[in-house]
Amino acid sequence: MAFLDNSGDIILDAVLTDLGRKRMAQGNFKITKFALGDDEIDYTLYNKDHPSGSAYYDIEILQSPCFEAFTTDNANINYGLLSFTRTDLLYLPSLEANELVADSPLFKTSSVYYIAANNETGTALTTAFGDTKYWALSNSTSGRKIVIESGLDTSEITADSTNRSSYMLSTNLLDSKYSIYFDNRFISSVVTPTAASTFTNSSAGEDQVSFTMSSATATSTTFLEDYSAATAVGIDNTVYFYSNALVDRSTISVMAGPGGSATAVNATIDSGLTATKAASTNVKYTNYGTVGANLFGDGNTYDYIDTTLYIQGQSTSAMLQLPVRLIRRAS
């Protein structure tokens, strides 16, 4: 897409999206609401130390060129503007993956999370990696899972109960639910925590994180082609700082400041992709991934598909992208 001419008056370039044209053809084109986005803006250009004063703090941002509108549904507003009633919010929560807790978190390796299609593949991966922590078994409710924390990742605020209440609860920045988006061509569903799960520590600082996992219900989406959505519960993240703790909270939580909530996710790979090495390779591996790759030099070959899981807090819109490799031992 070209840039819009920003040399004169402000102009507005409006187009129907592909989906808009489809709805118009179907006779059910009805606009009822709007949202705003700022995808082009790089807020790191906001210079609070500008020598010419506050009028110039955002001079570079205001000069940012804007693209013409895209007609694809998902390429226009990836990160929308947010409406919070309070104007005194100085901190907004973020999402981060946690590999610290004791209850079997999945570790990222080579920049991806490995989801094994079956136990045969898992066994091979354990040998290849020399550890079980680098792979999760598809559809497993008792094994490893990707653990996600929300909270304020700042050391300026002590992670105690009072600050969690002030900065997360009273400001309505607690994500009690998360939306999980996944490519339904390869992943049929996801496994998420139940409300019985806990994410806390004792006053002595001991890890009391425990996840009880179950399959979530998936629904199709229209804003991202081939993606489905599921809702995951957000467990209260009450891993606090205790001055007399025997265990430092930084060994449990990745958030330097107060936590908000936590969740976890494992993927259920499409049944057509989970066959053992005795079966032939599914065509999806051929079309969308890599087949017969000698990934680890362990004498085995693997078929795999790389995809992305998106986790989004339903209250704060904070989002985390998780690169996932769906892998199957091929020989």
Binding site: G20, T32, A35, Y79, L81, L92, F223
Partner: protein
């Protein structure tokens, strides 16, 4: 990823519809009709931008050799006469096809008369009730939708025709006439007949025919994009068409009546194209717009989920909590009730949004 913060439209106050008419000048030079790409080596009727059909009912004029994918269809040209014309006789060349063409245009543009289901006869005036100024032998120019768009703008059509001899149709003193619909406008000078919309009369600009109130020589059907020219324009031409026969003046060629009865439709079309000078009109495109007023309240959309908005969870645009939050709008997404993104509008430059201001963005969707 899906946006989660929306502002709902008030359908009473935030949405309105308008209609706008856009006009473009369409200048067609005479060389397109009379053979731009033929050169001296190609005879009239064999030009590569003129397409003839095996059925022989009409010709198509392109702006480029029609075998090229770059060619655009400009207009079709054909002729015909009513069966009551003195030029109609079964022995004449393509007699039935010429009658069929006349009737086809007549029934579509004018409809039928009375109870006996006969088609109307074209007249070069605004009243069909008086049966005056009937045009029983006519040429038709059908302009393509590509250039006419929704309709020809009233009062803008003009065509220059050569009425001189075959050898010199645009003779300086006796050979050129400009027909135009100068008396037509959006409020007057047109009429309706049949179901094909409004028409206006083409008057001559020559001194012998005062423009307003004078007799006409043809009709222009604005919505249909069709021009009807009476063949009588060329009655005075000593040699309307080419030919070896000596005319009454002694020049080689066919006078109008000879051409109408002995030449094929395409032969007569060739003769007319030879006499077409410039054609000019304004087309019209009707644009229906829905305007959405996106009213952004002062208390909303002051924060962003943009990943660069925070650093270590701290909002970059603030130093202390009491600083006003700031965001910058570059995109407006319009959604339905199912949160489906149906339309997108982009600003050419970011607009600053903070709790001290309200913004109304006017998004217009054209159909």
């Amino acid at each position: 990823m899906p946006v989660q913060n929306f502002e709902t439209f008030n359908t009473t106050t935030d949405k309105t519809t308008t209609t706008t008419l856009l006009h473009e000048v369409v200048p067609l030079t005479g060389t397109i009709a009379s053979g731009t790409y033929g050169g001296d080596a190609v005879s009239l009727g064999s030009e590569p931008n003129i397409k003839n059909y095996s059925h022989g009912m009409f010709q198509t004029v392109y702006d480029y050799p029609y075998l090229s994918s770059s060619a655009n269809h400009i207009f079709d040209i054909t002729m015909g006469y009513d069966e009551s014309s003195v030029m109609s006789a079964s022995a004449y060349t393509q007699n039935s096809k010429k009658i069929n063409m006349y009737n086809q245009f007549s029934q579509v543009l004018l409809g039928y008369t009375g109870s006996n289901n006969t088609t109307e006869i074209f007249e070069s005036d605004l009243s069909f009730a008086d049966n005056n100024r009937q045009m029983k032998e006519v040429f038709f120019l059908n302009f393509s939708r590509l250039i006419t768009k929704d309709q020809i703008k009233k009062g803008t059509f003009s065509i220059t025709l050569g009425t001189g001899s075959w050898a010199n149709p645009f003779h300086a003193t006796s050979g050129s006439v400009i027909l135009s619909d100068v008396s037509a406008s959006s409020t007057a000078g047109t009429n309706n007949k049949g179901n094909s919309g409004q028409y206006g009369v083409l008057y001559s600009s020559n001194g012998a025919d005062p423009v307003l109130g004078a007799v006409g020589h043809g009709l222009v059907f604005y919505q249909a994009g069709i021009v009807v020219l009476t063949a009588s324009l060329f009655t005075a031409s000593y040699s309307f068409n080419s030919g070896s026969t000596a005319t009454v003046s002694g020049a080689a060629g066919l006078i109008l009546s000879q051409s109408m009865i002995s030449s094929s439709i395409s032969g007569n079309c060739d003769a007319l194209r030879h006499r077409i000078g410039n054609i000019s009109y304004n087309n019209t495109t009707e644009i229906n717009s829905t305007i959405y007023f996106c009213r952004v309240p002062s208390s909303k959309f002051n924060y962003s989920s943009n990943p660069t908005y925070t650093s270590g969870s701290k909002v970059r645009v603030k130093t202390i909590a009491s600083d006003t939050p700031v965001s910058y709008i570059t995109t407006i997404g319009l959604y339905n009730s199912s949160n489906e993104l149906l339309a997108v509008a982009k600003l050419s430059e970011p607009i600053k949004k903070d709790p001290t201001n309200e913004v109304t963005l006017r998004v217009r969707l054209d159909y």
